[in-house]
Symmetry: C2
Subunit: 113 residues, 2 copies
DNA sequence: ATGTTAAATAACCAGTGTGTTATACAGTGC
DNA sequence: GCACTGTATAACACACTGGTTATTTAACAT
């Protein structure tokens, strides 16, 4: 039962898939096409792992499968790492500024906090 | 070169070690003793992985090795998952409140933010 | 020196993960 | 029905992980 988020994101290919899906939903074939060095079945299995870890949704459309990011699936991970954030020394400050800065390109429509 | 943070935290035992070290530094032996079902060498190798991933520091004290958490090592992970946080729906609100609430038990001496 | 303690490393083994090619399955369109 | 398309699954190979026991290394202590 490798339905674990930590395990799911431990693989660089799967992180790349998530990063790709973060920019919008994609058909399975389009995802696979991004990884030149991998075959279609290889990518398909990575997608399966992501599915079982609850990190993506699949929408069936005829023979096509449209994969969509399910960011809530990362809650557990976020929670876990956030615990440690409190222990950051002053570098935390720098990190926050850094993240806030790049957050601009993400979704400025979010509230200011 | 498995000096990867994502890989390092993919193992539950290693996460448990980090969680333990989050409560304070420990001698290698004391850490190993916490895992009844594991032998000393097994834990020692987990510690090695954490070392190589830059998640812990070791202080040598005679024959003893004192392991200390190095939370900055989690920066990369935090950054990665934080990207997705922006995509959270309104559950993000709830999550934040949740984390703020439990943050109290963590380290109230930190600044208020 | 010798023995003891603390931890790491070596050598090995079983299980799992990730890749491949080949194949099956399901829907589309003629 | 039949061919085609898109994706998943099967079967297999191989490397890696994580466990074990046995051993080594290094620092005390007597």
């Amino acid at each position: 039962m490798t339905t674990n988020v930590f395990l799911a994101i431990s693989d660089p290919t799967r992180r790349a898939v998530l990063d790709l899906l973060a920019t919008g939903s994609r058909k399975a074939g389009d995802i696979a096409a991004r990884f030149r060095h991998l075959t279609q079945p290889a990518v398909s299995r990575h997608l399966k792992v992501l599915r079982e870890a609850g990190l993506v949704n699949v929408e069936v459309n005829a023979q096509q499968r449209i994969y969509e990011l399910k960011p809530e699936g990362l809650t557990e991970l976020y929670e876990w790492v956030a615990k440690y954030q409190a222990m950051w020394p002053d570098t935390l400050e720098a990190l926050e500024r850094y993240l806030d800065a790049r957050a601009v390109r993400q979704k400025p429509k979010g509230k200011k906090r």
